[in-house]
Amino acid sequence: QETRPLVVFAAASLQTALTAIAADWQRETGKRVTFSFAASSALARQLDQGAPADLFASADLDWMDFAEQRRLIRAGTRRTLLGNSLVLVEPVSETPVALAIAPGFPLAAAIGASRLATGNVQSVPVGRYAQAALTALGVWTEVAPRIAGADNVRAALALVARGEARFGIVYATDARTEPRVRVVGTFPAGSHPPIAYPVAVTAGSTHPDAVAFLAYLASPAAVRIFEAEGFTVLR
């Protein structure tokens, strides 16, 4: 019998949910799961160098594509598990702004001399989604000079929470965890590419439970946890 724990390489933003699910799974099956949470980019490259992972959960499609092109994942196991939505947030310390997210809405004016914090628009997924959404709404050119790009969502969130930035664009899942921010509005799903969290069994995995755990991630128990976190579970 395989006693080695199952190793899951997962994007840092999935940490809370996956840890809870793994605890349930262990309670049910007695089998242990070990995670390595890091940036999707780092994990994908590590897979490329023969990392001993059984499952890979990415925070965006690009790095899963990268893995797939390099045959780092087992064919046919890839599935897009989760979705998320993009929200505009502001610090609770500010007087609530009356701003409706719509094409041409006066975001730039509302930001004023302050900043809008989000992920880095070139490299961090949430930043790329934000750029896409603002572009689709026709306000990107005005807002672009006021963007402060953090290197991950939580850093962006912290900038808003501390009141350093007047607004932030983050995932809905993150926004609800931070009491010091208030959601101003949610970006229409069509304004940006779908926010997706793909998972797959790695090509090198020999662990007998890899597929089973992958399936468990779609189990009702797991779905409950994901949804409690604010994810939309895609079926």
């Binding site: 940036a39 980019s41 994908a44 690009d62 790095w63 594509d65 990268f66 900043r115 914090a117 880095n120 070139q122 490299s123 961090v124 963007i147 402060a148 790009g149 953090a150 290197d151 850093a155 962006a156 912290a158 900038l159 501390r162 009141g163 350093e164």
Partner: protein
Amino acid sequence: MYALSLTPEEWTAIGLSLRVATVATLASLPLGILAALLLARGRFPGKSLVDALVHLPLVLPPVVTGYVLLVLFGRRGPIGAWLESTFGIVLAFRWTGAALACAVMGFPLMVRAVRLSIEAIDTRLGEAAGTLGASPAWVFLTVTLPLALPGIIAGAVLCFAKALGEFGATITFVSNIPGETQTLPSAIYNATQVPGGDAIAFRLSIVAVIIALAALVASEWLARRSGNRHGAPA
């Protein structure tokens, strides 16, 4: 070289990084030398604590340091708010903030180097200067400081090099605003975060290495010029 042909944004990042690294190094030198002097020669209670404080940025993950900087020096932070209201100095989201982050991250390296050099100075030379009428302050300026020059140069080089590579604390504190706070390492980091960005990252890394090499060669030259104080025959 074609491979190194850089985009305008990259040039901006390079220029900014040079400015940030230079300012970080020069601005932290006086404090660094003072701290080194205090740790090398001073005797006061809580010296270990000061020592630990100086080393803090080395011990903490850069993200934590960046966050602490944000909390203290952000516009809403106690020091940041005071600086803004008193001197009109804003660090948040400015290149000056990047310089502060780099200075803080390079500080332990600088202090250690200077301290080592100060500790290696024969205290009797200061005594000799004292008998010639030099007050402790003058002794510091005319004896300790010049004799610690190897350490000061080494400390400055370390701080400068660290500033060229520092990224975690910087991006956490002042985020990544092209033209304002996007330094060379931030640009490199960005490149590594997108599939296929390796070539760009490599190119920019080469630039960083070339700058560091130039700084090293300049520092060695400076150190040599400042005179060999040992090992001469007699």
